[in-house]
């Protein structure tokens, strides 16, 4: 499997702030690669470096086996990107915007191709409307049409579902899956919404505070041994005291008002419940969380958890 993106020890510093800190990852041909992290984690900075908007402080980027900066024009011809919200020329129509960026893509694009592309994203009827009259979802779809117009091999989508309604989010998700499954595109998609990435990506990278936390397949990361359980009780202090002195003490993660968070092996949940009841816990609710989300939160807020239960 050939690598489409190969990033090695990439860093970006702004004075004393390390926005991206020594990140390395590989995206293979045909991947839908999820790039996951909370807001401010360094996702957009990394994507901007992949698109030559920002110059790295150190590290190397190879796209399609070529050094990005040495072969910038050649490499960028094979990339389509939507960077954060797609701000387009509001005083131009959808067709004019698409046509203008198609001319810049370095690949000849016919009028039929322009119309087909607008049809693919469902904007045929609004082709000659000014973009200023578009909803966020329509702008997003037009942004994707612009990213795809020159038939790129690699598509980079930075937070593509931001600001969209549920239908819009589903449409973008289906489009990404279609591009991957039917057209064989390689896709790098960033998001802070874990379930979105979980639904579409086959591999993912989690970053936090500019650092790589984990890279792997979704299946690898969804570990049943790391199920997070939200326990809601009416007597939280007594329950926490009991938990600290029990064999479950290492599972204790965080307490916020009446909610206690525990990380346990999923098959052990019934056992835990029975012991809690025996110990006098007044349980209002006990809810195992999405395992990957729990894992993501436990990784990206690890330090906060330690503080909570070591003081």
């Amino acid at each position: 499997m050939s690598a489409i993106i190969q990033v090695n020890n990439l860093s970006k510093e702004y004075r004393e702030v390390k926005a991206v800190n020594d990140i390395s990852f590989t995206v293979n041909r045909g991947d839908i690669y999820g790039f996951l992290g909370q807001n401010g984690a360094g996702k957009s900075t990394t994507i901007r470096m992949l698109l030559t908007l920002i110059t790295p402080t150190s590290g190397t980027i190879e796209l399609f086996g070529k050094n990005l900066y040495a072969h910038r024009k050649e490499v960028l011809q094979q990339i389509g990107a939507v960077i954060e919200k797609p701000d387009l020329y509001k005083y131009l129509t959808a067709y004019e915007n698409l046509s203008l960026f198609a001319k810049m893509s370095g690949v000849p694009v016919t009028e039929k191709k322009l119309k087909d592309q607008l049809e693919q994203v469902g904007l045929t009827e609004r082709a000659h409307s000014k973009v200023r009259t578009f909803s966020q979802g329509m702008k997003q779809r037009l942004g994707i049409a612009i990213a795809l117009i020159h038939d790129p091999q690699l598509i980079i989508l930075d937070e593509p579902t931001n600001g969209l309604d549920p239908q819009g989010i589903a449409d973008i998700r289906n489009l990404i899956l279609h591009l991957s499954r039917h057209l064989g595109k390689t896709i790098l998609v960033s998001s802070h919404l874990l379930h979105e990435i979980e639904l579409i990506a086959n591999r993912m990278l989690i970053i936090d505070k500019g650092k790589k936390i984990m890279e792997g397949t979704v299946a690898e990361l969804v570990d049943p041994a790391r199920t997070m359980v939200h326990l809601e009780v009416t007597n939280p202090q007594e329950v926490v005291t009991w938990l600290r002195n029990s064999r479950w003490s290492s599972c204790l993660q965080e307490q916020h008002n009446n909610i206690i968070q525990l990380q346990v092996n999923k098959p052990q949940v019934p056992e835990l419940t029975a012991e809690l009841v025996s110990a006098g816990a007044n349980i209002m609710a006990l809810q195992p969380q999405n395992s990957l989300e729990s894992y993501f939160l436990s990784l990206t807020t690890e330090n906060r958890h330690v503080d909570t239960f070591t003081n």
Binding site: L51, T55, A81, K85, F101, S105, G106
Partner: protein, 290 residues
């Protein structure tokens, strides 16, 4: 480059704000023409009151005179209109969020920047052509032709009708260089902002401050004048300084200080090259965070 230039011009002329400058110039020129048409001789009488025993043959209030009057008034203010577009070229894209999209395309940053500057220059030239059509051609149409009387404090210069038109062509060509300098300045400032208001106001402020320093004849300011580009922007007036014989007759086709005019033109062109080169160098290294 040609495709990019076409795209930039397309974007400029699709924006309603582009036409504000054309409308403003048309409004001012037509208002001045109307005022002179209705009461121009009162104004000329006021100009001539300090000069005794001066007999004028022919029609003083003609198209050439009106055009000179308009240029004197307007060429100080046109830079403000040019800054509207020049200051918006990069900062406007950053503000709209389209700059990142442009830079992620397979185009070199230098090519992108130069095509943007060329588009701003073409806009500037079109604005001057529009001004020339209205102030010269339209004035000639309405007021007719005649010798040009140029009033300079206590001196009146009379340029024969047959010797005037080429001077206007040269003056507009010089004005094109001067206005392109303003376009280059505002374009350069446009690099450092993510909102076009900043560079537009900054460019206007620089032009206004330098123009004030240029026009005030105080000893300190006089020593600064040669270094202010606004001093050289007034070089177009030199084309109307005709040489005279010892008998005080005008020498047709002559210019009193051609080397001075050429020197000013070169200095302005050096400014243009300097601003654009600096813009390219900075832009090539700039992180696009907008």
């Amino acid at each position: 480059m040609w495709t990019l230039l076409q795209i930039e011009l397309f974007k400029i002329f699709k924006r309603p704000r582009t036409y504000i400058a054309f409308i403003a110039i048309a409004a001012i020129v037509i208002l001045i023409q109307l005022a002179l048409y209705l009461d121009g001789y009162t104004y000329i009488g006021f100009l001539l009151q300090s000069i005794e025993r001066f007999n004028v043959e022919g029609k003083i209030l003609n198209g050439y005179f009106v055009c000179y009057f308009i240029l004197q008034t307007l060429l100080i203010h046109v830079p403000l209109l040019i800054a509207l577009v020049g200051g918006d070229m990069i900062a406007g894209e950053a503000n709209m969020g389209t700059l990142r999209l442009l830079i992620s395309k397979p185009i070199s940053r230098s090519t992108l920047l130069i095509s943007k500057f060329l588009a701003a220059t073409i806009y500037t030239l079109l604005l001057l052509i529009w001004m020339a059509i209205l102030s010269l051609m339209f004035s000639l149409l309405v007021f007719g032709s005649g010798d040009l009387m140029v009033f300079q404090s206590q001196v009146i210069i009379q340029i024969p009708q047959s010797d005037v038109f080429w001077r206007y062509l040269a003056a507009f060509a010089f004005a094109a260089i001067a206005m392109t300098t303003v376009a280059a300045l505002s374009f350069f400032l446009s690099l450092f902002a993510e909102n076009s208001i900043g560079p537009i106001v900054a460019a206007m402020s620089i032009v206004i401050v330098c123009t004030i320093l240029t026009t005030m004849d105080l000893p300190l300011f006089l020593s600064m004048k040669p270094y202010l580009f606004t001093s050289h922007m007034l070089g177009w007036k030199g084309f109307f300084d005709i040489q005279a014989t010892t008998g005080n007759s005008a020498v047709p086709g002559s210019i009193q200080n051609l080397p001075g005019i050429l020197r000013s033109a070169v200095i302005l062109m050096v400014h243009i090259v300097g601003f654009v080169t600096a813009a390219v160098v900075i832009f090539r290294r700039k992180d696009v965070l907008s």
